[in-house]
Amino acid sequence: MSNGYRIKAAAIGLLWLVPDCQAQDGHMLFNRFIAERLEYEGNGGLHLAKWDVQDWFGNDEHKLWLKTEGDYSADQGIFGRADLQVLYSRNVDSFWDFQIGARRAFEPERTFDAVIGFQGLAPYFFEVDSALFVTEKGNVLGRLTLSYDLLLSQRLILQPRIELNLAAADLQSRGVKAGVTEFEAGLRLRYEIEREFAPYLGVDYVEEQSLREHQHSVRAVAGFRFWY
């Protein structure tokens, strides 16, 4: 990651660090920053720092939503993946937001996609984050994340999580192979010291399939979840 990106990310972060302000009569504005995952992931031959951060700002119906995900290999000094989505989010139901916007990937390639998706809580308390990405050339990619909170106690929470990345067709320029390009299944055990701050330990199974390679690995994870 270039320093430029870091500065940009910091600037955006600061922009959204505005305090929760309230206006009269329910036209209240709120801001939520959530680092769902800030973690170290590794096994014998692999050391990654991963992030999955979202921030929204708005009222009950309309929100501006930012999402960024990525990983950084400390020993190799390279980013495996880093992207930022800027989305307009419209509440369409108690439990669902419709989102539309753009994704800028910085790594591994600089790409630009249109995004539409739904985010919310499905019946039986499954957290869902789904998106379709349409590339500049009209190719379609998809991402689906499902997670579930299993309460072992009021503060000790086991979270199974699945993430699927899909491609409708081969994408030579990005080395993407049609089908499931990435499958991640993880289990994280977190302890909510505060609702807002919870360190966790876990394990991730990751399978990647590209035009160049196929690999799968099991990794231990340690990190924390943080929001305000």
Partner: protein
């Protein structure tokens, strides 16, 4: 503790200046003049200012009247003209609402509805004749000031002689937050179950399988899961952040009230909480409820009652034994309690009784959400029977753990004592208060309702929005009625929460089928999944606030303006 805690003794005047004593004397002399129809003038001053208080172990900002948490107990007399000078020493606007009081709407004290509010540094004088008597309270109606400590008791002496009690105490219950109320609201908006630390765990799942079997447990979990709701969601904000207070005191601060055995003690319970319902009991004592919301009732003996936010109940107890009795007010979700002692000696404190078990909501509490209730004719408070069980002490699955059973047998024995015999025999003495048992002391024949307005109580739990008819206040038109009309409101609760519905300036006659003896109240609690029917005589012109009295429900949209229009002058 820097809070100025006032004497709980409601007979002590708020300010003991010489002028006060003189005015009391004059009032005494003026007693006859009241009866002659000549009003007296009571003049009161309240200063609203910020103050640091330390209740949770860390000083916090409170907004207080006359530096008191609660504010001073005001004593008025029916028939007098009161003048209340309010000085705002805050850096933000303020207001005082006289809860449950009949008055000209400009004096009602709701900024944006009935007046401009009191600007920082400004004064405002409320003036109105006092037309009623009983136990009421006052509180801020600006921002979250009520949650920050701006409230106090309001006792209005009757113009008619009332049966005297030997002791008369205000028991003002409240919830004190550990966070800035706006922060609390923001948390709820971001994660609506933020404060629920009583959710069902994996362990509960297996315990339920053992108790109920796999099939029933699974179907229960699937039913709640399908709705994305939680049966432990009894209180949005609760003891995980609140301290529960009696007259501004935590249980550790040992609030106590004195009595001598055999005395009749009148306790004026006021729930000045922003969000908390309390289940009140006094182990070893039968409470005779004599008034609700300031209105005299035909006496009703209970061993416990639930007091909704903003309600008041006056009870008489007659402790016989030379021992300390507990005044125990548990938060409805059992996340904490307020506690005080009724004791023959100042150094005798009653132990805190064992808590009653936590109860869960049931599918039936969700009944309102599945339609059909609006069409059920006159079957008011449809779920009342069920709800009583579900919320108050144990449905079938919790048999043996209910309020009754939780009490030691010795307590039952105590009730067999002779003082019990003095109570009207036809009233069962072991029960919790139920709205359906309330009977007004005197009859008020009401005309047939001129029209009916159905108001659905609605909410969006996930986004933490509360509303009437799925429309939040920001997007809603006022409700308009005509002066002289009797309007029948049908509150259909389609949410899984209780909502204490409050109309300013007007009375709600709760239809429990008692005709002219239906009780009138300023707050009607509507249980989850039930419908409550009230008749409201629109007898005061003006623009009134009409809202759920849970502060965070009101603030997120469960609020309406109710306009009572004068007939067109031709």
């Amino acid at each position: 503790m820097r809070v100025n805690f006032r004497q709980a003794d409601s007979r002590s005047a708020p300010a003991k200046s010489a002028a006060k004593r003189v005015s009391k004397l004059i009032r005494g002399i003026g007693w006859g003049m009241v009866l002659a129809g000549q009003a007296l003038a009571g003049e009161y001053h309240l200063t609203i200012a910020e103050k640091r208080v330390d209740i949770g172990g860390e000083p916090q900002t409170a907004i207080l009247a006359d530096d008191g948490l609660p504010g001073p107990t005001l004593h008025w007399r029916e028939g007098e003209d009161v003048v209340l000078h309010i000085e705002n020493r805050l850096s933000e606007p303020t207001s005082i609402h006289w809860h449950g009081i009949e008055l000209p709407y400009r004096m009602d004290g709701v900024p944006g509805i009935s007046f401009e509010g009191i600007a920082p540094g400004a004064r405002f004088s409320y003036r109105f004749p006092v037309k009623q008597n009983g136990t009421y309270w006052y509180h801020g109606h600006s921002g979250m000031q009520e949650q920050q400590g701006l409230f106090g008791a309001l006792i209005i002496e009757s113009a008619q002689p009332q049966p005297a009690a030997d002791r008369d105490y205000v028991v003002l219950l409240s919830d004190w937050p550990q966070a800035d109320p706006y922060r609390t609201l923001a948390r709820l908006k971001k994660q609506s179950d933020y404060y629920n630390f009583q959710k069902r765990t994996v362990g509960d799942f297996f315990a339920d399988i053992e108790r109920l079997g796999l099939r029933e447990t699974l179907s229960d979990r699937l039913a709640w899961g399908e709705m994305r709701m939680d049966p432990t969601d009894l209180a949005d904000v609760n003891g995980s952040t609140y301290r529960f207070l009696v007259n501004g005191r935590t249980p550790q601060m040992a609030q106590h009230f004195l009595f001598k055995p055999g005395e009749r003690v009148r306790l004026r319970f006021i729930n000045a909480s922003a969000m908390t319902y309390f289940d009140v009991r006094m182990p070893g004592l039968t409470m005779q409820v004599i008034a609700a919301d300031g209105q005299n009732l035909q006496p009703l003996n209970v061993n416990g009652f639930r007091i909704a936010v903003a309600e008041t109940y006056d009870v008489i107890v007659q402790p016989q034994a030379e021992r300390a009795y507990s005044i125990f007010a548990e938060a409805m979700d059992r996340s904490g309690y307020a506690h005080a002692s009724l004791s023959p000696r100042a150094d005798w404190l009653a132990p805190v009784p064992p808590p009653t078990p936590r109860t869960l909501l049931t599918m039936a509490d969700m009944g309102g959400a599945h339609a059909g209730h609006a069409a059920q004719g006159d079957n008011h408070l449809e779920h009342a029977e069920h709800a009583e069980h579900a919320e108050y002490g144990g449905h079938a699955s919790q048999a043996g753990e209910n309020l009754e059973a939780a009490k030691p047998a010795a307590e039952h024995a105590a009730h067999a004592g002779h003082h019990h015999a003095a109570m009207p025999p036809e009233i069962p003495s072991y029960q919790t208060l139920d709205y359906r048992d309330l009977r007004a002391e005197t009859a008020t024949p009401l005309g047939k309702p001129d029209r009916e307005i159905e108001l659905r109580l609605t909410g969006d739990m996930r986004r933490y929005i509360w509303s009437f008819d799925d429309v939040k206040y920001a997007d809603a038109e006022p409700i308009r009625v005509k002066l002289g009309e009797v309007v029948r409101f049908r509150y259909v609760n389609q949410t899984m929460m209780n909502h204490p519905i409050h109309i300013h300036g007007l009375w709600q006659y709760l239809d429990i089928g008692a005709g002219a003896y239906n009780p009138k109240k300023h707050v009607i609690n509507v249980r989850p999944g039930t419908t409550a029917v009230v008749d409201v005589p629109a007898d005061a012109v003006g623009e009134w606030a009409f809202h759920c009295h849970l502060l965070y429900h009101m603030d997120t949209g469960m609020f309406r303006k109710l306009i009572v229009e004068a007939p067109d002058r031709e």
